[in-house]
């Protein structure tokens, strides 16, 4: 397929000679939205940072290949990465208000972002900023540009972050929990905006979230992460309609539904996520899995196909059922 914009093979991140993220592989087409979903401590944010090569100093990144628009960026130096960041790949974070400079008007910040990537006059930059603010649905952009971040609400700030991330029309947008700090009504607006931008501008989006609802709302493809691994991946319909991995199933069952019986006992996953320093041998979910068998304690299951549409799962039991 030619419209693959981002392709990652066998990416791992290690800290103190311990891998906290392992064997991450996915590929992402133009205008598609991939959701990396998992509970806190599963390594999803680390994965996002590693894709931008923004890892903390003590972390070591290794990958067979990270291909962005056909270019192999895994061997890029910091200087080369700076060219890539912002131009071809951008990131937005959970807390928009803390990523904006509180002492600078938002207009100035956006214009600065525009001018740092393309050499244009202040007037052109202003025009561009206005149009992009309009594009992300900010009412009265000329007036907003004069305001400081503290004068804007969380939803507005997140729109501005998205605007800044999109100034150079990047091929890939990384969104790390972009709506976690926002209210449901605002969250719905922002998700709608991201979806629209992906389909209109052809930006591929990787959204990192813990919220299965957000995934269902926005994603085309899903990768469920547990203890540093992708345990299940596939398109969003197949994952939600027939999840294969016991973790995915348990996770979906533990969310209170909006239809059906109320006050029922919710499904739970016993125990807690194991610490990276004490990951169990074999399948990492074996300490909490109801179906764990002997081989689950010995061999790490590989992420293998379990159905059509690229539906893959890393579970010994799923493979057996497949025959």
């Amino acid at each position: 397929m030619n419209d693959t914009v981002f392709d990652v093979q066998n990416l791992s991140v290690g800290i103190d000679a311990k891998n906290i993220v392992e064997n991450i592989a996915f590929s992402l087409g133009k205008g598609k939205i991939l959701a990396l979903v998992g509970e806190s401590g599963c390594g999803k944010s680390m994965t996002a940072l590693s894709l931008m090569k923004l890892l903390p100093k003590q972390a070591v990144l290794s990958a067979d290949s990270i291909k962005l628009l056909g270019k192999e960026i895994s061997s890029y130096s910091e200087k080369e990465m700076q060219q890539v960041r912002g131009n071809e790949i951008s990131i937005i974070f959970q807390e928009p208000s803390s990523d904006l400079d509180p002492l600078m008007t938002v207009g100035k910040q956006i214009m600065e972002a525009i001018q740092s990537h393309s050499h244009c006059s202040a007037k052109d930059a202003r025009g561009k900023a206005l149009s992009i603010l309009q594009r992300v649905g900010i009412p009265d952009p000329a007036e907003r540009m004069k305001q400081y971040p503290f004068e804007l609400s969380g939803g507005m700030c997140q729109r501005i972050m998205i605007a800044m991330a999109l100034v150079c029309k990047p091929a890939v947008l990384l969104a790390d929990e972009p709506t976690t700090a926002l209210d449901v009504t605002i969250q719905a607006q922002i998700l709608h905006l991201i979806k629209e931008l992906a389909s209109d501008m052809g930006t591929a989006v990787i959204i990192i979230t813990h919220d299965m609802g957000v995934v269902a709302e926005i994603a085309d493809d899903v990768a469920v992460m547990y203890a540093g691994n992708i345990v299940e991946s596939g398109n969003v319909e197949s994952i939600f309609s027939h999840p294969e991995h016991p973790y995915t199933r348990a996770l979906l069952a533990s969310i209170p539904a909006l239809s059906g019986e109320r006050k029922q006992k919710l499904n739970t996953i016993r125990g807690v996520v194991p610490d990276p320093s004490a990951w169990p041998k074999g399948c990492r979910f074996n300490t909490r899995c109801d179906f764990a068998q002997k081989e689950c304690f010995q061999e790490i299951p590989l992420l293998l196909s379990v159905g059509e549409d690229n539906h893959k799962a890393a579970c010994h039991n799923c493979l057996k059922l497949q025959g």
């Binding site: 009504t185 605002i186 719905a188 609802g213 995934v215 939600f240 533990s254 209170p256 006050k263 739970t268």
Partner: protein
């Protein structure tokens, strides 16, 4: 009605909480924020009463006023035959044995420098004349009931995970056998799989101990699951109040309708789901709410009357109350 037979645990009448807005060089009062504006409701014995709304709508202020962490400006809060709104320190201390609280953040709910057993047993020491051994036994018993081990009482908070810490906080709330627990976003800081454990625990405890909860949350799917009746709050006022099934099946107020449609839910995806209705605009500042209906600035159905007259909370059918001019049941007035 069966409602009449049920015992009322907490009764809030026309509660108002105002905060002054100060400005200028000398901090002169230039206005008032009506964080809680004329709210009334009853909580019955053994039920979970949900309070939902967006951040800044006043739901936590309401909880804090009921707990008397802050003083209401007007109105009454009846609990155990006392009016908490005007009660003095002694009455509060006496009444509060039967009312407890669970906070959102399990990290800051426990003193990091004190063994958790001491935090849990603190109320026993104040209110009951027990020997040291009896106290220890009560604490260990309660630990067992919330799904922890008896010998974990001597550990410090940092040795526990977030979910376990929330269990400890629940244990602290239960130690005096309260009738009512105010839960302020008790599961929003937890991962889904842990969240479901805590919700199950809360439901089990309610069944076994006939507890009542006032459950403050922004998460509608959690509220739907655990609550019996729900009040939807917008800018300090209740806009809709009814039992949970009715609220989610036939929401009357446009705000409730939009709120429900905005919930991202994996369950809905399987069917052909309509695009969620998007609520335009954002919560207006509580310091300068729009005239008339507070929701008119964002409401898709707003008419001239909405901009002038503030709709009162009126009963549209039995036990279904809403504050909106556009509701059919309202017209026959």
């Amino acid at each position: 009605m069966k409602e009449q037979k049920r015992k009322t645990v907490l009764s809030v009448k026309n509660l108002k909480v105002n905060f002054p807005v100060r400005g200028g060089l000398f901090g002169k009062e230039i206005g008032r924020i009506h964080a809680v504006d004329d709210i009334s409701f009853d909580i019955y014995s053994g039920e979970t009463f949900g309070v939902v709304g967006e951040s800044g709508c006043g739901k936590s202020t309401l909880g804090n006023a009921v707990l008397r962490f802050l003083s209401p400006s007007d109105g009454a809060i009846y609990f155990q035959g006392e009016n908490l709104a005007t009660a003095g320190k002694d009455t509060l201390g006496k009444v509060r044995k039967k009312m407890q609280v669970i906070f959102q953040d399990p990290m800051s709910s426990l003193n990091p420098r004190v063994p958790v057993g001491i935090s849990v047993g603190e109320a026993l020491k104040v209110h009951c004349k027990l020997t040291r051994d009896e106290q220890k036994k009560r604490v260990a018993d309660i630990f067992e009931q919330v799904g922890l081990k008896r010998d974990q009482v001597n550990r410090y908070p940092h040795e526990f995970s977030g979910g376990q810490r929330q269990r400890i906080v629940i244990a602290r709330a239960l130690i005096m056998n309260p009738e009512l627990i105010i839960c302020d976003e008790p599961v929003s800081a937890l991962d889904v799989s842990i969240q479901s454990q805590i919700l199950n625990l809360l439901m089990d405890l309610q069944r076994d101990r006939k507890l009542s909860y006032m459950f403050i949350s922004h998460d509608l799917s959690v509220v739907r699951h655990i609550c019996d009746r729900v009040a939807v709050i917008y800018l300090g006022r209740i806009v809709e109040l009814t039992d949970t099934d009715r609220l989610f099946k036939t929401p009357l107020h446009p705000y409730t309708q939009l709120l429900i449609s905005a919930i991202p839910s994996p369950g809905l995806k399987s069917g052909k789901k309509a695009e969620p209705q998007l609520l335009c605009g954002e919560l207006p500042s509580p310091a300068s709410p729009p005239p008339g209906c507070a929701f008119q600035s964002r409401c898709p159905h707003s008419k001239a009357i909405c901009r002038e007259i503030r709709p009162e909370l009126t009963q549209s059918s039995s036990d279904h109350w809403a504050a909106c001019h556009m509701i059919p049941g309202d017209k026959n007035e």
